[in-house]
C-alpha cells in the first residue's frame, strides 16, 4: 500500500510540473503575457501606494484612483484571456490523464487516513471503494491533496504565481477592499 501512496505523490509532482511546463510553453514565455504581467504588477503596486496616501477630500485624487482601477481591471481581464488558452489545453490533458489514473487505481485502497473525514468529504475520500470503513483512502482524494500543496509551491518556486499586490488588487475588483468605506 505504501508504494501506491508514494507513487501517487510522484504522479502528482510530475503532473504539476507537466502542467506548469505546458503553461510555460503556451503562456508564460510569450511577450504578450510578460508585458501584461509587468503592467498589472506595476499598476497594482502604484494603486496600493496611492490608496495608502489617499486624501479623503481630494476629488482629483479620487478620480485618478478610479481611472487607475479601471485600467487595471482591463489589463487583468486581458491577462486572464491570455491564460484561458492554456487553461483549456491543460484542462483537456489533465482530464485524460486523470481518467487514466482513475481506472488504474479503481477500487484500490491507496492509503489509510489517520482520521475519519467529515461527511461531505467522504464521497471523495471513499470514492469507488467498497465497505464502510471511511479511513480507507481513494486515489482521487490523495491526489487532490498532493496537488493542492505541490502545485502552489512549484508555482511559487518558479516565480509563476501572481504577485501579492496583483492578487490583492485583483480581489478588490469583486469584493470591497478592507477599509474602503472608512
Amino acid at each position: 500500500m505504501w508504494s501506491d501512496t508514494l507513487l501517487i505523490v510522484f504522479i502528482s509532482i510530475s503532473t504539476a510540473l507537466l502542467g506548469e511546463g505546458l503553461t510555460y510553453v503556451l503562456v508564460y514565455r510569450t511577450d504578450k503575457y510578460q508585458k501584461l504581467k509587468n503592467e498589472v504588477e506595476k499598476q497594482s503596486k502604484k494603486l496600493e501606494k496611492r490608496k495608502e496616501h489617499q486624501n479623503q477630500n481630494d476629488k482629483s485624487q479620487k478620480k485618478k484612483i478610479e481611472r487607475d482601477e479601471e485600467k487595471l481591471k482591463n489589463n487583468n481581464r486581458d491577462l486572464s484571456l491570455v491564460k484561458m488558452k492554456s487553461m483549456i489545453a491543460t484542462g483537456f490533458a489533465f482530464t485524460a490523464l486523470l481518467s487514466m489514473f482513475n481506472s488504474i487505481f479503481d477500487g484500490k485502497v491507496v492509503a489509510r487516513l489517520p482520521f475519519v473525514p467529515i461527511s461531505w468529504v467522504q464521497g471523495l475520500s471513499h470514492r469507488n471503494l467498497v465497505g464502510e470503513d471511511f479511513t480507507e483512502c481513494s486515489f482521487i482524494f490523495l491526489y487532490i491533496l498532493c496537488t493542492m500543496s505541490i502545485r502552489q509551491n512549484i508555482q511559487k518556486l518558479l516565480g509563476f504565481a501572481p504577485s501579492r499586490a496583483a492578487s490583492k488588487q485583483g480581489n478588490s475588483l469583486f469584493a470591497p477592499a478592507p477599509g474602503q468605506f472608512r
Binding site: T5, L145, N153
Partner: protein, 135 residues
C-alpha cells in the same frame, strides 16, 4: 555562498538583499522589513516546512482523529502569530490585519501536512491497523 544583489531604490538609498540576509533577518528578533513581500515569503516557506515536520511527527506518534487536524491548525496559526507579533514586532495593520498573516500559505501547508501525515501513518502503522481491524 550568498549571492548579493544591490539595487538603488527611488530615494537613492542602497538596498542590499541576499538569500543569506533574509535568513539572518528571519531568525533575529525585531528585524526591519522594508519589503513586505519578503516577510510574507519567510512566513510562507517556513510554514510549508513546519507543516511537513508536524506531519511527520503526527504520523510517527501516531496521532489520530480530528484532534490531529485541530492541533495542527491551532499550533500553526499560533506560531505564525506569535512569531510575527512578539518576535518580529510587526505592525499587523501594515499587512492588513493579523488575519492576512495567519492565512498566508495556510492552505498549502495544511495540504502538505495532511499528505505527510497520511504517508507516515500508512507506512509505519499499516500492520497494526490491519491487526486491529481483524481482531
Amino acid at each position: 555562498m550568498t549571492t548579493k544583489t544591490s539595487t538603488i531604490t527611488k530615494n537613492g538609498s542602497l538596498k542590499v538583499s541576499s538569500e543569506g540576509s533574509v535568513w539572518q533577518k528571519a531568525i533575529t528578533a525585531n528585524s526591519e522589513w522594508e519589503d513586505k513581500d519578503e516577510f510574507l515569503d519567510v512566513i510562507y516557506w517556513s510554514r510549508q516546512v513546519f507543516g511537513i515536520i508536524l506531519g511527520v511527527i503526527w504520523g510517527i506518534i501516531p496521532l489520530k482523529g480530528m484532534l490531529g487536524l485541530a492541533l495542527f491548525a491551532a499550533i500553526s496559526c499560533a506560531v505564525v502569530y506569535l512569531y510575527s507579533i512578539n518576535f518580529q514586532s510587526i505592525d499587523e495593520e501594515e499587512y492588513g490585519g493579523a488575519w492576512e498573516l495567519i492565512k498566508e500559505g495556510f492552505l498549502a501547508s495544511f495540504a502538505g501536512f495532511i499528505v505527510t501525515w497520511i504517508i507516515f501513518y500508512t507506512g509505519l502503522h499499516y500492520d497494526s491497523i490491519i491487526a486491529e481491524k481483524t481482531l
